[in-house]
């Protein structure tokens, strides 16, 4: 066959003939490279499946207004995770499709099941369902494991100081179980704040660990002590930290619990000179009493109903509920994972109207410039138009 003009000209270059010949050889000896299906997705799936299919394998009532649920993989497989990460479980309740993130409390060293503990919350929606309705054999889909509340060995201290509040103990259970059961060279002090000793989750297990392992110290701090309580009381403040954890400055601190407690502990640590890099926080979802958040517009109660327009739909949206919740109530599908403002999956464009943005929303600079908001932490405070 006559050479094309391209080949002809290339042939005049230094190395031209030689490279054209190499290409001819390579063409004749190479295999077909076109795969069947999406190889990238397939290869990544063992680590990050697009969706987890879970089946409830076991349920334990803690007797403390909280329930331990163990999920197995519906197809027998659960991907690895890092102690401290959560899964976001999708539910359909009364015709509403929504989801809630739950920290995995089991150790990542075993993956026969993921354990979560769901605590009842006042006027809870999904938590009530999880505690009252879910039965062994029920199936769920979820995303994750996700989240960056975890030990990062490159720059975190091997000595840790955990601050847990209420159900915020869950990610720490995974971390503690991993460190102790796998005999890792790390040292943990846990300060666990609870209203009453009875309400403290996993108390017996934690007390037993503290007995057995010299690298684990456990202090339960009770805010509403009954007569006769011998242990620590009050809030976890600077005085208490300095007294119970004299080497706090050498430790990386991790905080997980209700937002008020989370903010308080952070302030206390800062007042003690602990730098930002040593304070890691889990944003345990959005607070329910958003109208008490600093900066909330005066005069709004959280109960006003505004019009939320998305495409050609107009939806009722309550000021005290996130735009994400309003969309879910109306059956509009939105991508979602952390429900805490961090992952940006629920991002939507604010076309017009006013919204209240709760703290902790990790927005990109470009999103601020172009009016994108994370709908899980954005509240309508007037009629609003958004675009998905």
């Amino acid at each position: 066959m006559a050479k094309t003009i391209k080949e002809t000209l290339l042939g005049t270059l230094v190395h031209g003939e030689e490279i054209l010949e190499s290409i001819r050889v390579s063409r004749s000896i190479s295999q077909d490279k076109i795969p069947v299906g999406n190889i990238a997705d397939k290869k990544v799936a063992a680590l990050h499946p697009e969706r987890l299919s879970l089946v409830v394998a076991d349920i334990v009532d803690t007797g403390k207004n909280a329930r331990i649920i163990r999920f197995a993989g519906a197809d027998g497989y659960l991907p690895p995770f890092e102690a401290g990460q959560y899964i976001n479980i999708f539910t359909e309740i009364d015709g509403v499709r929504t989801s809630r993130p739950y920290s995995i409390s089991s150790s990542p060293r075993q993956r026969a099941y993921y354990e979560i503990t769901v605590a009842r919350t006042a006027e809870g929606f999904v938590s009530d369902y999880m505690i009252d309705k879910v039965q062994i054999g029920d199936r769920f889909s979820a995303n994750g494991p996700a989240g960056v509340f975890r030990y990062q060995p490159v720059f975190h201290s091997k000595k840790a100081l955990y601050f847990a509040g209420g159900s915020g103990i869950t990610p720490f259970m995974s971390m503690i179980r991993e460190v102790l059961e796998a005999a890792l060279d790390r040292d943990i002090v846990l300060l666990y704040g609870s209203r009453t000793p009875e309400a403290a989750l996993y108390h017996d297990e934690l007390a037993a660990y503290a007995e057995k392992y010299p690298n684990f110290k456990y202090h339960l701090v009770i805010s509403e002590p009954a007569e006769g309580w011998q242990g620590e009381t009050g809030f976890i403040n600077a005085d208490l930290i300095a007294r119970l954890v004299p080497d706090y400055a050498e430790r990386t601190a991790y905080i997980c619990g209700p937002q008020v407690m989370n903010d308080f502990c952070k302030k206390e640590l800062e007042s003690m000179g602990v730098p930002a890099k040593r304070i890691r926080r889990e944003m345990f979802g959005a607070r329910k009493d958003i109208q008490n958040e600093p900066g909330w517009p005066e005069g709004l109660t959280g109960n006003e109903v505004f019009r939320l327009t998305v495409g050609d739909r107009v939806i009722d949206a309550r000021s005290g509920e996130s735009i994400l919740t309003a969309l879910e109530r109306a059956g509009v599908r939105v991508n979602v994972c952390c429900r805490s403002g961090e992952c940006s999956l629920c991002r939507v464009k604010l076309v017009s109207g006013n919204v209240f943005l709760a703290r902790g929303m990790l927005r990109r600079y470009a999103d601020e410039q172009y009016g994108y908001i994370h709908s899980c932490k954005a509240y309508p405070i007037g009629d609003v138009v958004i675009q998905l």
Binding site: R27, Q31, P35, I39, K43, V148, S344, L345, R364, A366
Partner: protein, 509 residues
């Protein structure tokens, strides 16, 4: 069923630019992106007080307002130029050697030559000669491209003969250097290995070591980055993505995020539309794929729909390299830790080709280390008193793919530890200042880009697969490609290439 002139699959740089140009030309266009944000490689993520850029170290082809480059003109057409704060970078890069010395290159031909002549006086003449060759090469290349654009179709046998003898005379530098490797040219000009490394740093932007890196690409990188000045911008490459996406909407186009394409529909072997991940069908006269040809044919078509000619055509092409990158937020300024140039390439020995072989290994021990401190040129990219550094090496995914899921996290942190240890050696006290840090492996890139091998630069950009041999042809009527897989990788080249593809299609539909 929704009907469009053109459907674009993937909102990477190529997809965004293609859709913008089509919308600008009044075409009905829809752009699908499976991720929740636009940008592909070029995007960002947040951790704590920091926002990390994933890909962009230096934007090429911008030029200055007085002396605009092609990209500035393209952005002006989209009407987005003034929406972004552009940051001109004063130095091309700094190369650091294992003995603690290093060389920085100013982004100005005369200053650069003068500086190098001062640093390497014994080779001053060769340095001047080298730069002349680089510039002649690019001038001839531009002239030849302009000439070729005028001609259409295959010339006759006689014309071919004339061109064959004429070409080396009209374009002598092209004829001599266009198919040489970087190493070959450097050896021809220079003796000092440090000087060779100082001039060849752009190999890492294409992921090919000097012995395989086409000199043609090095010459163009050197020329374009010097003449149009390397740029960065406030707010990471997400600012460009968002600006272009907004412009597409403004000009009448449609963008669907969170909406991957699942299938391309064929009729009589020609592309007629796509099906999205929700099962919705869309029709169009043309389809532009911004994803790899491998995934386009392999995942968006049934095996029996893939033309034999496509299988033949893609046979010699090898999936390229991925990366292992640490994204680091420091609680101190760049000065405190000793960073003075935004973009540095750090060597463990003076043999880049040998060190590069570690790219096939799991862990980064000798691999040349690319470290960029974005805060050097614009302190406002991170909060006051902090800095952002991304440091990493090029890595093939093969060894990472072999890990069991159980081994993955451990190895990822081990890799991060080694990179940080190398930074600690160069910048004592570095580790103590880390406030946030994430590690991206080849599998991370595979997850977010959905590219085979987690490839960040498409196919291997060596002399047999790039420059004159990009696999740009589609073997399916009405399907075209516009991505780093079918042209020179990089932001500037992809925006421009897609602009060209889209302009051609706009004239047809």
């Amino acid at each position: 069923m929704e009907q469009y002139d053109v459907i674009v699959i993937g909102a990477g740089n190529g997809g965004l630019a293609a859709a913008a140009t089509l919308a600008e030309k009044g075409k009905r266009v829809i752009l699908f992106e499976r991720h929740n944000i636009p940008g592909g490689c070029g995007s960002s993520f947040r951790r704590g007080r920091f926002e990390f850029e994933i890909a962009l170290h230096q934007l090429s082809h911008m030029g200055t307002p007085e002396n605009p480059g092609p990209l500035r003109e393209q952005f002006a057409r989209y009407g987005i130029l003034d929406e972004i704060d552009w940051i001109e970078i004063k130095e091309l890069f700094r190369v650091n050697f294992p003995d603690g010395t290093g060389v920085s290159l100013p982004a100005d031909r005369e200053k650069c030559v003068a500086h190098l002549c001062k640093e390497f006086p014994a080779e001053a003449e060769a340095i001047k000669e080298y730069f002349k060759v680089v510039y002649d090469f690019c001038d001839e290349s531009t002239a030849f491209a302009a000439q070729s654009a005028k001609s259409t179709g295959e010339p006759g046998a006689l014309k071919k003969l004339i061109m064959k003898t004429g070409f080396p005379r009209i374009y002598p530098t092209l004829a001599k250097y266009a198919l040489k490797s970087t190493q070959e040219v450097l050896d021809e000009f220079f003796k000092d290995p440090k000087l060779q490394l100082a001039l060849s740093a752009y190999w890492c932007f294409m992921g090919m070591p000097p012995e395989r890196f086409p000199f043609a690409i090095l010459a163009k990188c050197t020329y374009f980055y010097t003449e149009t000045k390397p740029h960065y911008l406030r707010g990471t490459s997400m600012m460009m993505n968002q600006a272009i996406m907004e412009a597409i909407g403004r000009m009448g186009g449609v963008v669907r995020l969170n909406c991957g394409v699942k299938r391309i529909m064929l009729e009589n072997g020609a592309a007629v539309g796509v099906v999205d991940e929700n099962g919705v069908e869309y029709r169009a006269k043309k389809i532009i794929s911004n994803i790899s040809p491998l995934t386009t044919y392999g995942a968006l078509l049934a095996p029996e729909e893939v033309p034999e000619s496509a299988r033949e055509y893609l046979k010699p092409y090898t999936v390229g390299i991925s990366a292992l990158t640490c994204f680091i937020g420091l609680d101190c300024t760049p000065e405190e830790i000793g960073f003075t140039t935004s973009f540095t390439l750090n060597y463990e020995s003076l043999d880049a080709n040998k060190d590069f072989r570690d790219a096939y290994q799991l862990l980064p021990d000798h691999d040349p280390l690319v470290a960029t401190c974005y805060t050097v040129d614009d302190p406002s990219v991170s909060p006051p008193g902090t800095s952002i550094i991304t440091a990493g090496t090029l890595k093939y995914s093969a060894e990472w793919e072999k890990l069991t899921p159980e081994q993955y996290y451990e190895m990822k942190y081990e890799a991060g530890r080694r990179i940080v240890a190398r930074l600690e050696k160069m910048y004592p006290g570095f580790t103590e200042h880390i406030e946030e840090m994430e590690i991206a492996t080849p599998l991370t890139h595979m997850r977010y880009l959905n590219h085979p091998g987690g490839a960040i630069y498409g196919y291997e950009q060596d002399r047999m697969q790039s420059v004159f041999f990009f696999p740009a042809e589609s073997k399916i009527p009405n399907l075209e490609f516009a991505s780093g897989w079918v042209t020179s990788c990089g932001f500037g080249p992809n925006y421009q290439y897609a602009d060209g593809v889209a302009s051609k299609i706009a004239a047809e539909v």
